[in-house]
């Protein structure tokens, strides 16, 4: 079939470039391999040139692939599955990036992009290490390129192309039409992903992942060439850079989860988080071993091991998150694409390369003949490295249970599989000790020296500063125990270790690093680590659900108790609810596009329950899908203080709010009774009574958006329950919209479970009343009065500034309002302003009325000669003044929200500590890079 309107060229070009990119990566790797093997020989130079050329071609081809895919997304070519699944016509442009790397192919391209950027920098700056390093990097690129190849070898498909056509990936009757393209539209991006975190988090994280390949490649190069010491210097800034960026990427993930998602925290020990954290830990362990090796020559073997394992763990993490194997244990959603086998091959190849090199070349790795002394920095640093290694092993082991299950099931199909009972408690229990040891070691090791030969001389300084750190940490621990609630001695241990790290490293900064800020990297990082531990203690141990009202919930459910069971509180609209430490009131909500935003006011109360005067309003929201058929996201709103945050999100809503279909059914099932009332009347219903206060032509309603040409009217009522004199106001309304019809907007009085609405009968009565009017002519000059049905009608003045709800000013109008004051026999008075108007040489008039007396006025004419106005006045018959109103009692309430509110003490310490840690790493990276550049120059 010949399809109409398809754009096949960008896909064909893209696919060609994918193949070119893959082939050139292979060629680059092969050429660089021989350039390394033939280094120093004439043909080596040739291989090097070929490798460079191939890598540049690979880079350009990959950029071309990215460009082609981007082109397809920007132009919304829905004939491509990738565009159809991820963008839509109404998707704002800035989210095209998010749509690009949302799927596996896009994120592989992003990863590849960073490899290419890093590769080009290496090509320019790595000197003689270029060949071996880029040989490895290009090999990795070939593997990544194979993931998006989309080539078939018989039944087996190698990679999944991002350029697949929708009609090839899906089987639907619509593709039997040649013009199917004009019938379909894109799915769009999940609203959860339509935020700036999705724009900045993936590129940062993937730069982090990509940069771990550089230390890996240097390690391979070192083993390969046998120059075990020489690669250490150029590789160090890369490793530091990688740790800084990968750390930043992970931190952004945590911040995203905390700020924009309703996870209720920044870290949940979710497998996806764990598998990105573990490579960072091994990388940091590697950096410490690296520093030992650079300064003393010890532990080069560990440097190799850690850098090699780090990249393999990055690949393992990729496998876990992309193969769908974590299905039962992670809250994250994955799209499984059948790349599992290819990913295993990728891991296998790089793991085999690492193991083989270590096995074959490991014997030649040099080490000093003497052991390090116990009083030296390298000894305690190495102990720290082992602690980090433990941490990595523990997390990986627990996270890999699903992989283990699968492996065992392969051999024993009836194996049921193991899982962690409570992952968070498990990880916290063990990682706490990692925190304690690392905290203490950072403080101690910082004050020791490399290759200590004069321990007795240094001992005095060391003892003095350890004393400062111990005393300082002790005092601060005692003080902090007042701020935080501690539940076990282990928590005190962690608190002390954190304080020790902070004090010892701050002391070090003051004594040494202030002279040279560039040297401050390590002390800054370690101090940051201490602060991070403090923040974790605060947020983890003292995270408090304040959204509970034990009072209100008590006894409702049998056997319920304990704080963790009381995390949500129901807030009725406008009904203040006492919760822990606050009073929360759900004030109202507004709907804009697909987002419904709720206003919740918090007023702080002291221990006696009195208001402290402090109050704030939070705006959590929920997002509906494009068809308003369900809620797809609940976005939190957080009040930030220096020492704590108050985090809130909507955990549930009335079913009528979640499901419009249900809401319609519910509305239909409500029984309304009809009552009639004139202005000023009181209506008695079964349980309540209402006073009809007023009638307006300019009504307001939360769901009413006035449009030109609307004819609207509304009532103002107050409803009372029989035993409560506090009234609830209600303002139902009705409007006629040209060509669309009449719409009624009911008023809800949640507290009385009452619903009040107007019907077309109400409208008809108003129109009938108008038709039945018998107007009498009154002639008045400005300032004159005349009697009418016992009332006095006084023409105050004529007004050229016309403010009548039904008056739309037009060019050429000649409009004037008669300002009338009507005085009743009981000498109460009211003002009306009917309008006389000449439009297109035709006289028109707009009436006005005193609804409570049933008086209607029209301004019919002006006699310019005598300056006399013709006013028509009428009094409506009693029975026609009464307006039918429909009232339902026992209407189900849908004016509440279920809110979760959590206090996070010390959350800012988490951010500050992490940022200091990364800043320290970045500072060190920059410092080492500068040293290295000076050397080259």
């Amino acid at each position: 079939m010949q399809y109409v309107g398809e754009h096949l060229l960008p896909g064909q070009v893209g696919h060609l470039l994918v193949v070119l990119s893959f082939v050139s990566a292979l060629l680059a790797s092969f050429s660089y391999f021989w350039a390394t093997r033939r280094h120093g020989l004439p043909e080596g130079a040739g291989w090097l040139q070929l490798g460079r050329g191939a890598f540049v071609v690979h880079g350009l081809a990959t950029l071309g692939v990215i460009g082609a895919l981007f082109f397809i997304l920007v132009n919304k070519y829905y004939e491509y599955q990738y565009a159809w699944a991820n963008v839509s016509d109404d998707l704002p442009f800035q989210y095209t990036f998010s749509a690009f790397w949302k799927e596996q192919q896009g994120s592989f391209l992003l990863w590849s992009f960073w490899h290419i950027v890093l590769g080009l920098v290496l090509m320019l700056r790595a000197g003689r290490w270029e060949s071996p390093v880029l040989a490895v990097l290009s090999l990795a690129e070939a593997f990544i390129g194979s993931m998006i190849l989309g080539l078939y070898f018989g039944e087996y498909r190698l990679g999944v192309s991002p350029f697949d056509l929708l009609r090839h990936t899906m089987d639907a009757p619509i593709f039997e039409r040649a013009d199917y393209l004009s019938q379909i539209t894109g799915n769009g991006l999940n609203p959860l992903l339509q935020n700036y975190w999705m724009t900045i988090h993936p590129p940062t994280l993937f730069l982090g992942f990509a940069s771990t390949l550089v230390p890996f490649s240097y390690a391979v190069a070192g083993l390969w060439t046998g120059e075990h010491r020489e690669w250490l210097k150029p590789a160090l800034p890369w490793a530091l850079f990688s740790a800084a960026i990968l750390g930043l990427g992970i931190l952004m993930g945590g911040a995203w989860a905390y700020v924009a998602l309703s996870f209720g925290g920044y870290w949940a020990w979710d497998p996806v988080e764990n598998t990105s954290l573990v490579p960072w830990i091994t990388l940091v362990a590697g950096i410490h071993a690296h520093l030992i090796a650079r300064n003393t020559g010890y532990s080069i073997r560990s440097v190799y091991a850690f850098y090699l394992i780090t990249f393999v763990l990055v690949l393992y993490s990729t496998y876990l998150t992309r193969s769908g194997i974590l299905g039962d244990s992670s809250a994250h959603a994955f799209t499984e694409m059948g790349l599992g086998a290819q990913l295993i091959a990728f891991i296998g190849a790089f793991a085999a390369l690492a193991i083989a090199l270590m096995a074959v070349r490991g014997k030649g790795i040099p080490a000093p003949p003497q052991e390090e002394t116990i009083a030296s920095r390298e000894f305690w640093m190495f102990v720290g490295v082992l602690v980090l290694f433990f941490s990595a092993v523990l997390i990986t082991g627990a996270t890999s249970l699903p992989v283990w299950n699968k492996l065992v099931q392969w051999f024993k199909p009836d194996y049921v599989g193991a899982a962690l009972k409570d992952p968070v408690a498990h990880h916290n229990r063990y990682q706490l000790w990692i925190g304690v040891f690392v905290g203490l070691l950072t403080g101690v090791a910082q004050w020791l020296r490399y290759r200590e030969r004069h321990a007795e001389v240094w001992r005095r300084t060391f003892t003095k500063h350890m004393f400062i750190a111990l005393v300082g940490a002790g005092v601060l621990t005692a003080l902090n125990a007042l701020w935080l609630d501690m539940y076990a001695w282990q928590h005190f241990a962690l608190l002390f270790a954190a304080m020790f790290a902070v004090v010892a490293n701050a002391d070090y900064l003051v004594v040494f690093a202030r002279k040279n800020l560039r040297q401050a990297g390590s002390a800054l990082s370690h101090m940051g680590f201490g602060l991070l531990l403090l923040g974790i203690l605060g947020t983890g141990l003292n995270k408090r659900w304040i959204s509970s009202n034990t009072f209100a919930m008590e006894g409702l459910i049998e056997g319920m108790g304990g704080e963790e069971l009381n995390r949500n509180v129901l807030l009725l609209k406008e009904a203040p609810m006492p919760i822990r430490g606050y009073e929360a009131t759900y004030l109202g909500d507004t709907l804009e596009r697909q987002t419904r935003t709720f206003k919740v006011r918090f007023r702080k109360r002291d221990a006696q329950g009195n208001f402290t005067g402090e109050e704030f309003v939070l705006h959590p929201n929920v997002m509906y899908d494009r068809r308003f058929s369900q809620v797809v996201a609940s976005n939190p709103s957080t009040k930030h203080y220096l020492t704590y945050d108050i985090f809130t999100h909507i955990s549930s809503l009335p079913k009528a709010e979640l499901d419009p279909e249900f809401a319609r059914q519910q509305e239909d099932s409500i029984r309304f009774e009809t009552y009639e009332a004139a202005i000023g009347d009181t209506i008695f219903t079964k349980k309540h009574y209402l006073v009809l206060d007023d009638y307006t032509k300019a009504p307001q309603h939360p769901e009413y958006r006035p449009e030109k040409g609307d004819l609207a009217f509304g009532l103002k009522l107050r409803a009372f329950s029989l035993n409560d004199t506090a009234g609830h106001s209600a303002a139902p309304m009705l409007y006629l919209r040209p060509k669309q019809g009449a719409f009624t907007l009911p008023a809800q009085i949640g507290a009385l479970q009452m619903r009040v609405r107007l019907t077309e009968a109400s409208l008809a009565r108003l129109l009938d009343a108008d038709n039945a009017l018998q107007y009498r002519t009154l002639r008045l000059k400005e300032g004159e009065s005349v009697g009418f049905e016992g009332y006095r009608v006084h023409l105050v003045r004529l007004n050229r500034r016309v403010e009548h709800p039904h008056y739309d000013a037009q060019d050429g109008d000649l409009a004037v309002a008669a300002q009338l004051r009507i005085t009743a026999p009981d000498s109460t008075s009211a003002e009306v302003a009917p309008v006389f108007l000449i439009r297109d040489s035709r006289p028109l008039n707009l009436k006005d009325e005193v609804a409570q007396w049933g008086l209607h006025f029209r301004f019919e004419n002006i006699d310019p000669n005598t300056a006399t106005m013709t006013i028509l006045a009428a009094k409506a018959p009693e029975d026609l003044q009464r307006i039918p109103i429909e009232i339902a009692e026992n209407a189900p309430r849908s004016d509440y929200i279920v809110l979760e509110a959590i206090v996070f003490p010390g959350i800012n310490l988490v951010w500050l500590g992490s940022l200091l840690m990364l800043l320290g790493l970045g500072l060190s990276a920059w410092n080492r890079w500068a040293q290295r550049s000076r050397l080259i120059a």
Partner: protein
């Protein structure tokens, strides 16, 4: 003995110790019958029974959710979770629970929903305005 050997022995000893103690944190997957038999906390995978009532009345208690679940063996039991009802609960294709049997009811402390369609809606929207 060299110091490095001492360290190696310590490391191995600690590792074994941790492994033994950590194994207590591990539980197995089970269905309702096995959970009742074990009496201990287990992981349980199943599907929401959509034609049985889902009890969640936030006006009474926003922290009480009860529903029926069909396990791998096809057995249907009531599950009680002391938490709010997640927004896309009814749409879940698979539910992973952690908890234990108490009498006839499975009391869950943790629930994980799998809604693959959350990120991918395999449905073609037909443009109505163009027809």
């Amino acid at each position: 003995m060299k110091r490095s050997h001492l360290i190696a022995i310590t490391v191995i000893a600690v590792a074994i110790g941790i492994l033994i103690s950590a194994s207590q944190d591990v539980t197995t997957y089970a269905n309702f019958a096995q959970a009742a038999e074990k009496g201990d906390r287990v992981k349980l995978v199943g599907q929401l029974v959509k034609d049985r009532p889902i009890a969640y009345d936030p006006e009474k208690d926003p922290n009480y959710l009860a529903f029926y679940l069909r396990d791998d063996a096809g057995e249907v039991r009531q599950v009680v979770l002391r938490a709010g009802k997640p927004q896309d609960f009814e749409r879940s294709e698979q539910i992973v629970l952690t908890g234990q049997m108490r009498g006839e009811v499975f009391e869950a402390s943790d629930m994980l929903l799998k809604c693959p369609s959350k990120y991918k809606d395999e449905e073609i929207y037909v443009r109505s305005e163009k027809q």
